[in-house]
Subunit: 467 residues, 2 copies
């Protein structure tokens, strides 16, 4: 009986899609069962569909809606909150084949594209026209624009250039019942009606499926220069950040590595880094006179007590400075590789008001000690957005439990410091209980109301963001 | 009977407010009946209330909700779309007495304030801390932050610094039934749940009453320099704008005046302006090296065919250049003063993709000729946001009708060029029919659904934005 019911809707799906767009082999189902978040439960989808057009996405939603089958939209599954994890028996709707760039309008500095374009693909394409799409999440090589929009992704450049949301002018979205709606505009400014575009940004596939985006772009920045400063304490590094911001500098990156991270990167052999420092700041400037700006920032770092400051003299050296930041993940993966079982380096994402940065870092160090864990903290200091990363063996039940408790303690500390449980990774499954703690009850009720309004049958990525 | 019912809810209102917070004298009612939009109908409120606290606002909404009385939130009534116009028998809820700045946090570059603070009051207060609140609508001396947020206000600086929405981190909002909810955050970044903050920004008092705002700030910019270029055609000016943007310049103002405006300002005696030019560009730069930047932009203007270019050598001259832009409204008011009856200079607000600017200006000139009207077009060229202004006698039925038809023709032309019916003034009553033409039916239905969700009884500014 169950089988024949399933067959009914799977047949209906197939009727509107090419034969190579409906997959139900065990391997494909398994590969599409989860994103990159280790703590979130994931089921096995009934089918994975890979449409190529908005009309095909509409067909999928119409079938799902008619038969009450959950639909889980997916991009590159680089997400870190379980937002793309499958439910048992769901349709995984992979947007990876909708990867065309539809238009690059240089005069109006905008690009129109499908959701499956990778961040890198888009960035390279617009760069060829002298344009710049700033959002640069760590997974930029693989992650998709649709996913970036769905979670509200960020990156290193946000301190100067803002987040993904700031670049979304308009969207085409397929609603739960298969209707296609367009939001937003092609103009720089516009206030015609409620801001539906922003409502869909960060909604993690729970309100609709993004099938096209119109994104604003910036002119390509000029050459940049970087510098690196090492500090005897997180507090001194925090003071340097406050001074840099306070003096009105707007670096294009302002990254902080705590003691654990500094040592890990020094250990993989970065020549400019001493593993003994308590904190390292990495700053990049792409202003009209980056040499003058990095020099001024270097001076502020020294005044704040930096024990070692390296200012890049040229582009070559600049790259080497920035390598220190790029080496963080490989360094942590090396740490993980020394562990038995199923080691992982899972990246948390909490943001606090900038002035509470040093305090937050110190609290994380205490949490690491308390839970007997290796926690490396790195992050976007200029935005107060930190990524504490626990390196542990997922196969070790004790380590797993301690890591889970540590993540909770970190979010609790972030909220206590006036922060938010997620700066740029989203809520997904991982943080939906924590969302209740962050939001006030009225705001949460409105969010639930909006979900019910747009997805009354609950077919769109059920159980994500809102429990 | 009617009177006694009215007395019931007015008595209930008085029970929770001080005696000087409930006004029903004819003069006060009349003064609060409308904002600054001439074409929109306005009724006479039953009472005007002037609470001083969020609790008092909650009381007003609870009474209104219980008795089904419409509530029209009001700031300084500088709005230009009728969004603050009273309904007959409504409660006008003036937020002008809630005008405290609650906190200026220099380290986190944010300010927390009540809605009745004026834009100028806020700007001055944060400037004293070396900080900068960029949005600068023409009415900045009088208009309130609450009103700025409610309509999504802009100004000259948007080309570089963005619009009001970009600076709203979080809000406290009283909902239709009197519940107080908090949205957003104090951190720079954050993606915890759906973006309710953005939903309230630009909702023109139809979804809730803003009683507190947390706004992000920027460092105060350095000294700026300005320049002015005059062109033989709108097309040449449009080419200059395209070249300036295309070369990656980000001026802090990039304003365009058409032939009519240029002549009007020249006629009031601006020394740098020839009244014969077809278009004038005014550019201000506040980058680290503004002299180099205005020089480069001046060169681009010459290449595009500018017949006269004036580059300010110092701050003094810079002020005189910018005076040409500041003189537009006084010059148009002088034009209006020459008319009999009830003359007005009503400012429209349409945005088109930047590359369609010259075409749009030419179409507006045709519309002026066709309707036998004096239309001056000035605007934020860098954003494609123009303010065609019809100077006419409202007491002359023919002129009134022609002006109304011309405004419709202008919006139609804006939409045909891929634009929007409003860049920064909002929808109010004036443009709610046009909103239906701009939005796709699905998007409009979602907007109506959100309105119903948040205001099921329809007490919050009924008939505004959505018909």
């Amino acid at each position: 009986m169950t089988t024949s019911v399933e067959l009914t809707w799977v047949s209906a799906l197939r009727a509107g899609l090419a034969s190579d767009m409906v997959h139900d082999d065990a391997d494909t189902l398994e590969r599409h069962s989860r994103d990159s978040a280790p703590f979130s439960p994931a089921g096995t989808p009934a089918v994975v569909v890979t449409p190529e057009t908005a009309e095909q996405v509409r067909h999928v939603l119409r079938v799902a809606h008619a038969h009450g089958v959950p639909v889980v939209p997916q991009g590159a599954r680089t997400g870190l909150a379980g937002a793309a994890n499958a439910d048992d028996g769901c349709i995984v709707l992979s947007l990876l084949r909708m990867n065309r760039i539809l238009e690059i309008d240089r005069g109006n500095r905008l690009v129109r594209c499908e959701p499956g374009v990778t961040n890198r693909g888009l960035s390279d394409a617009v760069a060829a026209h002298g344009l710049f799409f700033p959002p640069d999440p760590a997974s930029w090589n693989d992650c998709t624009i649709g996913g970036n929009i769905a979670v509200g992704a960020g990156g290193l450049c946000c301190v100067k250039y803002g987040v993904t949301a700031d670049y979304v002018l308009g969207l085409s979205v397929v609603l739960a019942d298969g209707e296609l709606v367009r939001t937003g505009r092609r103009t720089v400014k516009g206030v015609a009606g409620y801001d539906l575009t922003r409502l869909f940004v960060g909604s993690e596939g729970t309100l609709g499926v993004i099938v096209e985006a119109t994104l604003s772009l910036r002119p390509a920045p000029g050459p940049s220069l970087a510098m690196l400063a090492q500090f005897p304490s997180a507090t001194a590094a925090g003071e340097a950040v406050a001074a840099i911001i306070g003096r009105g500098h707007v670096p294009s990156a302002l990254e902080l590595m705590d003691q654990v991270t500094t040592r890990a990167v020094a250990d993989v052999g970065h020549p400019m880094l001493s593993g003994d420092a308590a904190a390292t700041l990495i700053v990049e400037c792409d202003d009209r006179d980056p040499a003058a700006e990095v020099a001024a920032i270097a001076e502020l770092c020294r005044t704040a007590g930096a024990v070692a400051v390296t200012v890049a003299a040229d582009q070559e050296e600049s790259k080497r400075v920035l390598d220190a930041r790029r080496l963080v993940l490989p360094a942590l993966q090396r740490q993980a590789a020394s562990l038995p079982g199923r080691p992982t380096a899972f990246i948390e994402d909490v943001a606090v008001p900038r002035t509470r940065l040093a305090e937050f870092i110190d609290r994380i160090a205490l949490i690491a000690a308390e839970h007997d864990l290796y926690i490396s903290t790195v992050g976007h200091a200029g935005d107060g957005n930190l990524h504490p990363t626990v390196v542990f063996d997922q196969a070790d039940p004790s380590a797993f439990a301690r890591a889970e408790r540590a993540y909770d303690a970190i979010m609790e500390a972030g909220l206590a410091l006036g922060g938010t449980i997620t700066g740029e990774h989203g809520v997904g499954i991982l943080k939906r209980e924590w969302l209740r703690r962050e939001l006030d009850p009225g705001a949460l009720r409105i969010q639930q109301g909006i979900k019910n309004l747009l997805d009354p049958e609950g077919v769109l990525n059920p159980g994500k963001v809102l429990a």
